[in-house]
């Protein structure tokens, strides 16, 4: 099976966000593989181990994203591709990201593409379904179980807490939801091996794309932090009094019940 995983480098979930000059500050921040993409990588490795084939991880990003690709290789992916747009593009929205990824994937004879259901930074969840549409293949989002038998695929999908059982077929793009699996940590031998695995770097030129083809559709007007919450009130006194007071406050002061 020819398996591809779309991987995004994102801020560590522990990081606080700092804005300066209208931009999110990246200096000194830790970066990780988008947590949902870790599920996607893990699933890809498991499918390959069961069915044979090759797992290629692909990211659009700058030089720095190599680190996350090496981590994916250390987990067990076979090859990595960095599509480096740093020199060509000042901006990249979901529309353009999907075009770039689809352009790379279109002649690869893919059987299965895995993505995260959402990136925890940009947070739109658009890239997976957009790529599938551009490639003309079917997709299923927020999956929590995947079974492949020949070209038949059985999937369990999370829909707002309920589960949908779905049948479809390859080629297919799926997006990973929490609960799909337990992503492995890279092992020491895995990390050693990863250093020697192929990591290709491409630019827009290599994909026969011009800057015009991927001009963004969205304009960012402003970025800001939510207002800081004022410190709240910790109630005091006898516990039963506190509970009475709380219900009273919620009813009369906050008016939420």
């Amino acid at each position: 099976m020819n398996i591809f995983v779309l991987v995004k480098r994102t801020f560590d979930t522990e990081e606080k966000i700092v804005i300066a000059n209208g931009k999110i500050q990246e200096d000194g921040a830790e970066f990780i593989i988008n947590p949902y993409d870790e599920y996607a990588i893990e699933e890809a490795i498991q499918v390959r181990d069961a069915k044979g084939g090759k797992v290629t991880v692909v990211t659009i990003g700058g030089e720095d994203a190599e680190k996350q690709l090496r981590t994916a290789l250390a987990m067990g992916a076979d090859e990595a591709v960095l599509i480096n747009t740093e020199d060509d593009l000042d901006e990249l929205d979901q529309y353009s990201a999907a075009i770039i990824l689809a352009e790379y994937l279109k002649d690869k004879e893919v059987d299965l593409i895995l993505a995260g259901n959402v990136a925890i930074d940009g947070g739109t969840g658009q890239v997976g379904p957009r790529v599938a549409d551009l490639l003309g293949i079917n997709y299923v989002t927020t999956i929590t179980d995947l079974e492949i038998d020949g070209t038949n695929v059985k999937i369990v999908r999370d829909i707002e807490g309920d589960s949908e059982v779905i049948e479809t077929s390859l080629p297919l793009l799926v997006t990973a939801q929490q609960g799909l699996n337990e992503p492995r940590y890279p092992s020491l031998p895995g990390i050693m091996k990863a250093k020697k695995k192929p990591l290709a770097e491409l630019e827009l030129d290599d994909l026969d794309l011009d800057e015009d083809d991927v001009e963004v559709k969205i304009e960012i007007v402003d970025i800001f932090l939510p207002p800081q919450k004022a410190a709240g009130r910790v109630l005091e006194g006898e516990l039963s009094q506190q509970v009475k007071e709380l219900v009273n406050l919620l009813h009369s002061e906050a008016k939420v019940v």
Binding site: D133, D158, T168, R233, L239, A254
Partner: protein, 325 residues
């Protein structure tokens, strides 16, 4: 300039979801005096058209077909695009729900358009409308607009106020027929797991438990409280990892993001990843036996104490309040 804006009315268990009425209100703002057209897709949905109109849609277009009984991205995209081609709108609004998240990127791709997902607020109107949306799971926000082409947005439930229902409003309801075909996905079954029947992302009240709840039975009093308040139960990852509840209840950076009127956190320490999913709730109550717990930093009201004592007392007090009012 006035715009025509399409709104997808989302139907679940035979009724329109609240987020669809919120979407109508959003569409009105984008339309800026132009027409708001409701779109209903399903096997039998015409009877719901009027309700969309009473919430402000000027008219409704329906597509009914047996293949639209259950949502599939293939079926719904064919039907929606048929309406789109007929109406040629300047704007489209969906709810940022499971369905909206799944369908909107496919349509945006087909329309070669931008898409602004998960909008929590709209500033200005018409062409000048600017859309506010969370990034970094609510740790920051951005204001964005569409540069050119159709103004396509999905709105987060519970953030944009619906218009008041006005039963005297009337409007045209028309249907168009679409030959929905070639569905590549078959839905075999839907397994209901949500505990109270109130959707977590749309709930006005969320009662969430963490590792402090200690077991799945420990969640029972939380469920009782949620039921009493017409709300939903949520959880921290700590509780989900410990198998006290299903991952679908998880709130936070890698779970659901919720903005209810009231969020009650019981036995949750308040890790940064959890706060990302709930700190924009209107009122937050924390119940934790550790006075130093981080959750108190975002709580409007805090009780330092054992949740197994506090929750039952809360249930009694809310019951008393209900009787008295």
């Amino acid at each position: 300039m006035a715009n025509k804006v399409l709104v997808l009315g989302e139907v679940r268990d035979g009724v329109l979801r609240n987020v669809s009425f919120e979407a109508v209100a959003a569409a009105k703002q984008i339309a800026d005096g132009g027409e708001v057209v409701g779109v209903l897709l399903g096997d039998s949905v015409t009877q719901l058209a009027n309700e969309l109109i009473t919430y402000g849609a000027d008219r409704v277009v329906t597509v009914e077909h047996p293949h639209l009984k259950a949502y599939t991205s293939d079926g719904y995209s064919q039907a929606f695009l048929a309406v789109y081609e007929q109406e040629k709108p300047e704007g489209v609004v969906f709810g940022h729900t499971s369905l909206g998240k799944d369908l909107s990127p496919k349509l945006a791709s087909k329309l070669k358009s931008g898409l602004i997902s998960d909008v929590t607020e709209i500033e200005g109107s018409g062409e000048d409308a600017v859309f506010v949306r969370p990034i970094y799971s609510g740790k920051a926000f951005e204001k964005v607009k569409i540069k050119d082409g159709v103004i396509f947005v999905t709105i987060r439930p519970n953030n944009i106020k619906p218009l008041d229902k006005n039963a005297s409003l009337t409007g045209d309801v028309a249907s168009i027929s679409v030959d929905v075909q070639n569905l590549r996905t078959i839905i075999k079954d839907v397994v209901r797991k949500a505990t109270t029947g109130v959707d977590l992302s749309e709930a006005k009240v969320v009662v969430a438990g963490g590792r402090g709840v200690k077991s799945s039975e420990g969640f029972e009093p939380l469920k009782e409280l949620a039921n009493l308040l017409g709300g939903a139960v949520g959880a921290s990852r700590g509780a989900c990892d410990a198998d006290y509840c299903d991952y679908s209840l998880q709130i936070g950076q890698t779970g659901k993001v919720v903005t209810p009127d009231l969020y009650i956190a019981a036995g949750i320490s308040g890790a940064i990843q959890h706060l990302a999913g709930m700190s924009n709730s209107k009122v937050i109550v924390a119940i934790n036996k550790d006075p130093e717990a981080n959750i108190f930093k975002v709580a409007d009201y805090g009780i330092v104490g054992d949740l197994f004592e506090v929750i039952p007392m809360l249930i009694e007090e809310f019951k008393a309040l209900k009787v008295n009012s």
